[in-house]
């Protein structure tokens, strides 16, 4: 009986996918940590993640790109070595919506003091740096709140005081492109947004309902204004 019910469920899911093709998201794997959480969350939101660690055609045909990232900035060297950096740069120039998460956001800047010899994409001019020395602990681990700039599309619908989950030791400065500011030791960019390029320092895939809303905004977003 249970097996029968599962078959029906499977069949009806299959039909619903045929009716509305799931949104394809190219997820870049540069061997820095674990993609499972991001992939699982994208699937939960109805998207179909396609992972590439160097197949440039998948970037060239991408409808949307997510660059996740946990770990060390130096790992982004692989993006250069595989040609992914150039392919992503071209995709961004075509207007493909792009979301960088954690180190994936930091990579959008000129670089990071975590790996000074490794350049970033330089889509945003500034560089990332370690939190200043203080009494507070580094890494910044845990749930913190967002001060959201009203114009943010990525963070639309997120109420003041909603919390998201962070785990990082390096951070981007607050500039005109900053979409949300978080305070820990000093104010830093929790989210950045310009045109079709967005980044979040926190982990939306680990930030409960708030995170799902933010990833959902990215998936629903129609294109540059």
């Amino acid at each position: 009986m249970v097996v029968y019910a599962e078959l029906i469920l499977h069949f009806s899911l299959h039909l619903s996918f045929e009716r509305a093709a799931p949104m394809r998201v190219t997820v870049i794997d540069y061997k820095a940590g674990n993609l499972t959480s991001v992939l699982k969350t994208l699937r939960h939101l109805g998207a179909e993640p396609i992972v590439t660690d160097g197949d440039l055609a998948l970037v060239e045909s991408a409808e949307r790109i997510v660059l996740p990232g946990v770990g060390h900035f130096a790992a982004t060297e692989r993006l250069d070595a595989t040609g992914l950096t150039s392919a992503i740069r071209a995709a961004i120039a075509r207007g493909v919506p792009f979301l960088g998460i954690c180190v994936g956001m930091q990579w959008l800047y000129a670089g990071s003091s975590e790996a000074p010899s490794q350049p970033g994409l330089e889509h945003f001019a500034d560089s990332c740096a370690r939190f200043s020395e203080s009494q507070e602990k580094v890494p910044h681990v845990g749930w913190n709140s967002l001060e959201i700039r009203a114009s943010s599309r990525l963070l639309a619908g997120v109420e003041p005081g909603e919390h998201v989950y962070f785990t990082h030791s390096y951070k981007a400065p607050v500039t005109a492109d900053t979409a949300a500011v978080t305070h820990y030791i000093e104010p830093f960019a929790a989210a950045v947004e310009r045109g079709n390029v967005m980044g979040v320092q926190f982990h939306p895939e680990k930030s409960s309902a708030t995170g799902l809303k933010i990833l959902g905004n990215f998936l629903k977003w129609e294109g540059a204004e």
Partner: protein, 259 residues
Amino acid sequence: MITKRIIACLDCHAGRVVKGVQFVDIIDAGDPAALAARHAREGADEIVLLDITATHEGRQTLLDTVRRTARELFVPFCVGGGIRTADDAAQVFEAGADKVSVNSAALADPTLIDAIGRSFGAQAVVVAIDARRDPQAADPVRDAQVFVQGGRRPAGRCVVEWAREAEDRGAGEILLTSMNSDGMRTGFDCELTAAVSEAVGIPVIASGGAGTVAHFVDVFGRGKADAALAASIFHFGVSSARDLKLQLSTAGVSVRLPC
């Protein structure tokens, strides 16, 4: 403002959640995937799943449990128990964990901490320390000893010194369990937690002894904990993470609310 985390802990044995008192007298408390989802829904900031009797035969059960638990969980998820090599860790990550907690194996070979950190980042490595103090010791806090194998054997290391080494090797967090307090519901070991928290620059999760809201207020204040773990306080409907956090907020502790 960064908030203090309330972490729900699921001690698992053979795919079921169990709860012991001072590491023995184990009783059944339910299905891990269902309980993890419930805790997350009820406001837990993070879920820790500890396989307390990990054996070689149990590995597949654990990976299945992790996969099932992670599927619909959108808060940080840490898994520990029986992780002896970087390969073991890789399998647990692949199954859907965001962090692994290492204990006995890291004491046997501390380079395990470096190895997992190199592949998955420091944020993914939690070093769990089971601590026992001897009330007769000259300095019960400084002399507190690390125990391994589920608390069965002393490791011959002092807690504070081992926590420092773990940090130097690239641990992202310390999960400190007081064996004296575990399951007793008489409060966390605030003195030992504060000693460890002051000795390291990484977050410390306090564990063992939660029984009342006041215990949490105490460990976040006097104990200088960055997060606190609770198992038995939730499992039997004593309280939810949300209830706990509402009361903590009233007491002046910064927590994630609404949640």
